[in-house]
């Protein structure tokens, strides 16, 4: 069974139809990249996986999104629990204006996952998993806002990891980072892939090619092609995919 699956998923912003019946399976412990020009629906699609679109007024969804085979849009679903299981990292690092420690401890405290020394352990574990521990272990109580952009983004990943998610959604996580910080995040993604299912939206096609196992190409709200990344970037089956990744359009 796939970790995530959409079945004939349609999405509307008021009258605007942003997704036209997308059916897609996301494999467990793999990195799946979603590529396509701006406005093609890939970020909208990503946000369907943890119901982030629910917060936008005037939106409507038709179809099913399954996590481990269960529809996350069913009426009895606890959205807070869903977002714990399906975490999200955004385009711009968005640490809280608090200490490094408190940023990572925030989720576990709210969800009452740990306290005292167990919380300390969880914070350390999360920072280690986000490849940030060595850089911040001596300044855990200084402000998160003093970190570099790349460090802040890894802190945000640590914050997601602290609540023990199963899936991590990344919406252009490197677009505000320099090349060195970008490569560190990519290294981190490869490590996290051992334990988590990752879905990443990226405008950087080389990044999709480097880091992902599967790539889906979106165009005007349709999933045009979805296949192994190696195939998409060397022998795409669709003319439209070829034209997009070779820069002939978009």
């Amino acid at each position: 069974m796939s970790k995530l699956e959409t079945r004939d998923l349609w999405f509307y912003y008021n009258d605007f139809e942003a997704l036209h019946g997308i059916s897609m399976r996301i494999e467990e412990r793999r990195i799946t990249a979603l590529i396509g020009p701006s406005g093609c629906g890939k970020s909208t699609f990503l946000r369907c996986f943890n119901r982030m679109n629910d917060t936008i007024p005037g939106t409507r969804i038709v179809g099913e999104v399954l996590l481990d085979g269960r529809n996350i849009y069913a009426p009895d679903v606890d959205v807070v629990e869903l977002r714990r299981r399906v975490g999200m990292v955004f385009q711009r690092p968005n640490p809280f204006p608090q200490s490094i420690y408190d940023n990572v401890a925030f989720g576990p405290r709210v969800l009452n996952l740990a306290r005292g020394s167990a919380l300390d352990d969880l914070v350390e574990q999360s920072l280690r998993a986000a490849a940030l521990w060595n850089e911040v272990k001596d300044k855990l109580h200084s402000s998160a806002l003093d970190l570099s952009a790349g460090e802040q983004q890894r802190l945000c990943i640590a914050r997601v990891l602290a609540v023990k998610p199963e899936v991590i959604l990344m919406d252009e996580p490197c677009s505000a980072l320099d090349p060195a910080a970008t490569l560190r995040i990519e290294d981190l993604m490869r490590e996290l892939r051992e334990d988590y299912t990752i879905v990443i939206v990226t405008h950087n096609m080389q990044q999709a090619a480097r880091v992902s196992d599967y790539t889906g190409f979106f165009w005007l709200g349709e999933l045009v092609e979805y296949d192994e990344t190696g195939k998409i970037f060397t022998r795409p089956a669709q003319r439209l995919t070829e034209d997009y990744i070779t820069g002939r359009m978009g």
């Binding site: 096609m205 080389q206 090619a209 970037f233 060397t234 022998r235 795409p236 995919t241 070829e242 990744i245 070779t246 820069g247 002939r248 359009m249």
Partner: protein
């Protein structure tokens, strides 16, 4: 289309022109080598031998152009396949140039003795080789797998002519040991012409790969 893409397309066209130029150089070398053999023209043979250095240089220039395109454009899909194929194709062409130079060398050795027999099949082989080179490059430029397949099939004609030359020369050698050296040299010439067609077949395989994404071993 973006300006960057238009610029990339211009560079790909330039790459194409360079490959075509190299193909013409190789074709001329083969033709020159066989003409030198037929007309016992040592001067022409010498020109072909020294001209091989230019072919080698051109090949490395093109390879460098491909590496630069890969590094600066990060090509994908059809572009990537075409550029990687270009590197293989120029390597094949360069080796064909070496065969032409080898034929010219043999032409020099054969220039001072009377012809063993009228040369008919050997020039015919060279002619077909030339046609095959042109057609294979045409197929590369047009991304035409059918033309590539048709071109590769002509390897059978070359193999047939080679067998014929081989049998004929063997008869000469058996009936008169005096002819062995000359016949052996001629056989080497025919063998090089036969190898050139094999190299063209390799180019055709590349063309099929860039057009269809499938590797196909062509053996006719």
């Amino acid at each position: 289309m973006s300006k960057a893409r238009a610029l990339f397309d211009r560079e790909l066209t330039d790459l194409r022109d360079n490959i075509l130029h190299l193909g013409n150089m190789v074709e001329a070398a083969i033709e020159g080598a066989v003409q030198a053999l037929r007309e016992q023209d040592k001067e022409l043979a010498h020109q072909v031998i020294t001209g091989d250095a230019e072919i080698n240089t051109k090949r490395y220039d093109i390879e460098e152009q491909c590496l630069r395109l890969i590094a600066t454009q990060q090509p994908a899909a059809g572009d990537l396949r075409a550029i990687v194929a270009a590197i293989h194709i120029v390597t094949e062409l360069e080796r064909m140039g070496d065969y032409a130079s080898g034929i010219a060398e043999l032409a020099t050795r054969l220039a001072d003795q009377p012809h063993l027999k009228p040369l008919i099949d050997v020039p015919r082989m060279a002619e077909i080789d030339g046609e095959m080179i042109r057609a294979s490059l045409d197929a590369y430029f047009k991304h035409d797998p059918d033309l590539a397949l048709e071109t590769a099939k002509r390897d059978a004609e070359i193999d047939g002519l080679y067998d014929q030359v081989y049998r004929e020369l063997l008869t000469y050698m058996l009936s008169d040991p005096q002819t062995i050296t000359r016949a052996t040299y001629l056989l080497w010439v025919a063998h090089k012409l036969e190898r050139i067609a094999d190299r063209v077949t390799n180019i055709c395989e590349r063309v099929i790969f860039i057009s269809t994404g499938e590797f196909q071993e062509l053996n006719f």
